[in-house]
Symmetry: C2
Subunit: 233 residues, 2 copies
């Protein structure tokens, strides 16, 4: 196989939000064949899965797997249980506290399943849209967390321990502001009308405009002097 024709496979964690849609476009631009992975984990904002399917289909990915996993049975998060999603609560100092929307060990669970998926595809590249700047203060979005997972991944898997390759966790957004992410995504042709960031959308999927995720997203578009196309879909 010539190097020119060979496109390496990658797994892209695709929630259906603004960040993961951008990450998918970045991975595609870098020449990877995309295998997208989404989760139905008992989230109350299941509308994002509708968006994930549409993004994956528009991007022409090789495969899109949606894994069912009942994180809600463990409870303890506003995203999966009856705890109310806080509104208008974004602190000035982003990340100062860990909010009630934190889902226990969510990224560890998601990355583990991405690792399992990657291993069956002979893929050594996993893309995740975590962000340590304009983010909600979750511990499993920090660079030191991602580094620890990458280290684990290279001890965990058959392919890595037998020297077939080295697993890399790509976090292209980790040091970008929301405005920078949007700017890059628009350059790459991402249609943000088909993304959903809201933790508490209404039945038609319209964002509440007041949860942390909405406030961060809105601030990003505002800083660029743009209107969020998701408000008009």
């Amino acid at each position: 196989m010539s190097d020119e024709n060979f496109r390496r496979p990658a797994v892209v964690l695709l929630s259906g939000g603004l960040d993961s849609a951008t990450v998918l476009a970045i991975a595609q631009e870098r020449g990877y064949t995309i295998n997208a992975l989404s989760f139905r984990y008992g989230q109350r904002h299941e509308y994002e899965l509708h968006c994930a399917r549409r993004i994956a289909s528009n991007a022409g990915v090789r495969q899109h797997s949606i894994v069912e996993i009942d994180l809600a049975q463990f409870g303890h998060s506003a995203l999966t249980s009856d705890i109310a999603v806080p509104k208008h609560s974004l602190t000035e100092e982003v990340g100062a506290d860990i909010p009630v929307t934190y889902v226990p060990a969510r990224n560890t669970v998601f990355l583990s399943l991405a690792l399992a998926y990657a291993e069956t595809l002979d893929a050594f590249d996993i893309f995740i849209g975590v962000n340590a700047l304009d983010y909600s203060g979750y511990p499993d979005c920090r660079p030191e967390y991602i580094e620890a997972f990458e280290r684990l991944a290279n001890l965990a898997t058959k392919a890595c321990t037998t020297g077939q390759g080295r697993m890399v966790i790509h976090t292209p957004l980790i040091q970008m502001t929301k405005a920078q992410i949007i700017q890059l995504g628009l350059k790459l042709g991402v249609d943000y009308a088909h993304t959903s960031s809201c933790y508490d959308p209404n039945e038609s999927g319209l964002p509440c405009g007041a949860c942390d995720a909405c406030l961060l997203r809105n601030r990003g578009f505002e800083q660029l002097g743009l209107q969020d196309p998701a408000m008009f879909r």
Copy 2:
């Protein structure tokens, strides 16, 4: 609450096999309140879940959660797909090769979910029956793998990053032979008749006697001059 009456909660990964049944007894003996966690992950040897329920119930655990997670949709293992379980194939040098019964990233997925469960219980102790001596050569059973997961766990979770405690992954069997594990379990009152180790049991749950897991188990009982009670249940 007096220290004497307070029993710390622990999560015990309980497959229903010989090792995890022993680990549960060890954790109980150390004074923990047990929250057992099992998985229906598309394994062909689902009989082990029947055993897990019985072990948990006999031990009087506080809680037993069975999480559904479809690892079979990723395929690529004799334990979850149509690949035949190898018989009479145990090499003299245990662990020399990684066999086709390896399920991609299984322990990473299981430990991640144990971590999520622990976090919702305010538990800082996770017990897993991995073994690096009489084992099948899976990379995610080695001490360096477990250490990497423990490191990750302490960066991943709200409780750990806010200084409420330190997550510990307990692997009491990691350096024991199968015979030593059985000996300890018998001392702690484990009834091995209600455990299932076989990768390919028949419909009534009787072990095949020829897969790696059966060969390792049988060798353990033989070395002690004992008969495996699971053969007579």
